[in-house]
Symmetry: C2
Subunit: 375 residues, 2 copies
């Protein structure tokens, strides 16, 4: 059986391209992982997610443990089979969404207890339980259970939170056990404080993981502050292991993240925006519900090869969006995911060719042009 | 250019199989037409509707004239291009949905005025305007503007209604004009009264149409009454032209209709049921939200080759339905449309082989077995 491993192929500045090998297939990096919250990337069939170029999906431990439950998915043969996606899956630890979605949370050194946002039932997640859930799901890349320190956090609060996450990282590592072909990723915390990021990185390296995430960003600090942290935080993590920036982001966040040495990203933005009519193209963002599209026979982006752009006009997409037709979510999610994967492919090629700076310049220049003129 | 024509290939009792030729492609009969109300078969990409075996879609004049408007669709190149379906499209006349959906209807010999259910705007449909709208849409098979007589109707009310529809049929024919490659279908009315059905059929034949619909059924009269009318009504219509039973129906309605000489059907049932979790299989109807499916690793129907059955368990479909995920509507609509098209294909083959009676017996026997036993 193939083991989990990471081959770094090329670097260009801090930007890196390579391949994460797993028994379920390769992941080309830098990689964008579409989010399949409840065992589906919303409005997409998995074969179509694959057709956009995705090598790996993200599943949400919090949602799946509540419904249909990890035990049920395990009995049905695991998450891959359940959702008809045989390629790699990364699962988060559940911690982030406990804090953002559940009611009546109570956190202690042991873990966190909370009430389900679906039916009010009482649950507990500890590092050990998170490892168990992710094992039941059959996740290929398992994330340590941590506390995502909110922003802004006073320095002493951030430090306390980070240190607890590092103790939980050790407990996660211990509970994960020996699972050939599966990976456990540690998560760096430390908010916007360089010394805490350093302490966190050292703690994680001392434990040892198959990959390392930069956590605690994209929580409201803004792009400028995020990039300031990313100017140093990824460098603190081992160069020979994948680096994953959690919950990021907008297209320019991805370019800025890759530039700073990030290999993996996930975000609901392209799929969620597909359902709300916000469209990403080379020329920035457009909103399909705007009346300017009502009679426009042109595609979203004439250079895009996704089904929405190949076969439908802006006028059609405007119509089905206004009529609240499901096909609007289907086509626009497909387009956005396709755009995100094309962006990642473009960055991978540019890094391999040593032209990442030129890629970045063109990326920003095209966006500065804005959407095509109305007819 | 291919003209519109109908080749009757085989008959078996009253059941018929053949091909309707149109410039946009052949329609194998008996045919089931999925309904694409607002320029989309809900929750389906058009290429996937085609993959289920559909040769033709139905579009709704009422919905499309209100949004995005027939004029806008014409400016964008017609309905086929707009919705990315290059095969034949049949459009209804708008009359039925004016009566069922709009507000403040007022009917006269001239036509009907009404307020839009979307924005309250005032509109009029006359036979002439209905022909104009269907021409703007680019419909391949155009339906006469008529009044669908409600059920039950006193005999004198039904007669008056039918006779007005026959005058409107003449006006529709006159307004349709000379459109090679396009067809106009007349619609028989007359409620449940045999003499009125006869009078209506004679009036339509005197005008002359490329096909004939049996209208005014599936409006609450029940299957037994509908079949009683179908025991004689289709025979009154020309044998060398397609016969279309409007707005029908359940799987056993289709079998009973074909048995009585019907060639074409349309109904929202398979697509609407796909969104509400009602599933049609060889073994009848099952409801995916039933808790019995929660842990069931088996497909909806092990003999079905649709994507929902090939790649997903009942447990998965139950989960995504309960979680209100869009993929539930996508997969279950696909399954239902696939089942309907397989049913039509089975009937076509049986008629060609002269084994329609045996087909019908097996159809009812399989349904009588009911769904597979819970695990």
């Amino acid at each position: 059986m193939t083991q989990f491993s990471f081959d770094l192929h090329s670097t260009d500045g801090k930007a890196r391209t390579g391949i994460i090998h797993t028994p379920r297939g390769d992941i080309r990096t830098p990689a964008f992982m579409p989010v399949g919250t409840a065992a589906t990337v919303k409005a997409m069939l998995p074969e179509n997610v694959r057709a956009t170029g995705a090598d790996i999906l993200l599943g949400n431990t919090y949602h799946l443990m509540l419904r249909p439950t990890a035990e049920r998915i395990a009995n049905l043969g695991g998450l891959h089979k359940f959702m008809n996606w045989e390629r790699p899956i990364l699962t988060d630890s559940g911690g982030f969404q406990v804090m953002s979605l559940s009611d009546l949370r109570k956190m202690s050194e042991q873990g966190v207890t909370f009430k389900s946002h679906i039916d009010g039932s009482l649950h507990e997640i500890t590092p050990e339980r998170s490892m168990e859930i992710q094992r039941l799901l059959g996740s290929d890349i398992v994330m340590c259970f941590d506390e995502c320190t909110p922003h802004p956090a006073p320095k002493d609060v951030a430090l306390k939170s980070m240190r607890m996450s590092m103790r939980w990282a050790q407990r996660s590592r211990d509970a994960f056990g020996d699972r050939p072909g599966h990976a456990l990723f540690g998560i760096q915390q430390g908010s916007v404080f360089k010394d805490q990021r350093e302490e966190s990185a050292e703690a994680l390296k001392a434990i040892g993981f198959e990959g390392y995430a930069v956590g605690g960003l994209a929580v409201g600090e803004g792009q400028e502050t995020m990039f300031q942290v990313l100017d140093y935080a990824p460098d603190m993590l081992p160069a020979d292991k994948p680096r994953y920036l959690m919950g990021v982001g907008k297209p320019d966040d991805l370019v800025g993240g890759v530039k700073r040495g990030i290999d993996m990203f996930d975000c609901v933005l392209p799929s969620r925006s597909g359902r709300t009519g916000q469209i990403f193209t080379r020329h920035g963002v457009l909103n399909i519900k705007n009346a300017r599209h009502k009679d426009d026979p042109r595609p979203l982006d004439e250079a895009c090869t996704c089904p929405a752009c190949r076969s439908y006009s802006r006028a059609y997409l405007h119509h089905v969006f206004k009529a609240q037709e499901i096909i609007a979510s289907m086509l626009m999610t497909w387009h956005n995911l396709h755009y995100y994967q094309e962006l990642m492919a473009g960055m991978r090629d540019a890094i391999a060719a040593g032209t990442f700076d030129a890629f970045e310049t063109q990326f920003h220049a095209q966006r500065a042009q804005g959407d095509i003129e109305p007819l």
